[in-house]
Symmetry: C2
Subunit: 187 residues, 2 copies
Amino acid sequence: MRDAVLSGLGDHGYPGLTIEYVAEHSGVHKTTLYRRWGGLEGLVADALDMAGEDTWTPPDTGTLEGDLRALAREVVDAFDDPTKAAAPTAFIAAAFQSPRAADALCAFYTERFTRCEAVIARAVARGEAAADTDAAALVRAVSAPLMLRLFVTREPIDTALADQSAAAALAATRAGAFDRPSTPKNR
Amino acid sequence: MRDAVLSGLGDHGYPGLTIEYVAEHSGVHKTTLYRRWGGLEGLVADALDMAGEDTWTPPDTGTLEGDLRALAREVVDAFDDPTKAAAPTAFIAAAFQSPRAADALCAFYTERFTRCEAVIARAVARGEAAADTDAAALVRAVSAPLMLRLFVTREPIDTALADQSAAAALAATRAGAFDRPSTPKNR
């Protein structure tokens, strides 16, 4: 069923996906799909839950600079390839129309960015970042300029932009812009 | 016609908008709408063109820090209010399904961010930023972490996040992370 949802989203996007498509490509009867998943929204949310169950881990290059750049470049690589980009793009589109898809997408990205925070924990251990760095904000700042262009402003992205985004996030970290405000200190 | 498209997008989003709705609310006959705009995609693209014809100008607080913070807070203010947020959100959603809407959205944001670059020009004139600052990248970096959460990760945003985003962009600017690579210099 999940493969059918993913291939349907890849081929037709959302809302081009239909229960009929999923039934035909999964061999599961329509009435069963409705009974178990409650319809398309439930199927999409379930497929997104599955997408979050992979074993992806963030890059570990030995430096914060290298890790942030590698993270940013992974975004470019993932969305430069139309085949790889189709399903994630369809999930992001589905969230505009389905509150259940939006909740599932939020859970997916929250968990994904939590994995990315390992990059910051290692940087703190190496003395490259302050212990009170807002890791959640920092890892989102790296991909945000790329995601903005991909899904909002519809502008092209490339490796140079990824590197610039990583460099900006690194500079902001070094300047203390991602320090949590709860710990006042002299800078 | 454009008011009907905007109110329809606000009420029903995209693809909830129909030619019938626009015809009914604009008093323009369906066949005329099809003949002049070629259908919904053309109507949405035209409404977006109109949205870009406002007289909005970026904040001018007297400092780069103040201007970037005000820009970021405007994003929070605009999308915190469901009434104000409905049409822009529907345009962003429409771009996932309509290449014409995507082109119109890209043109809208390109022009909008070009207006924002006045903030950087003033900062350069005051000596607050290097003359070769990549103003286009900088102004996008300010709103990107907010737009990421609004339209991709579906996470909440608030004024504190706006201020953090502005502070990060400012720190990156001061550190030279937005300097154009074409002009090597010692830092």
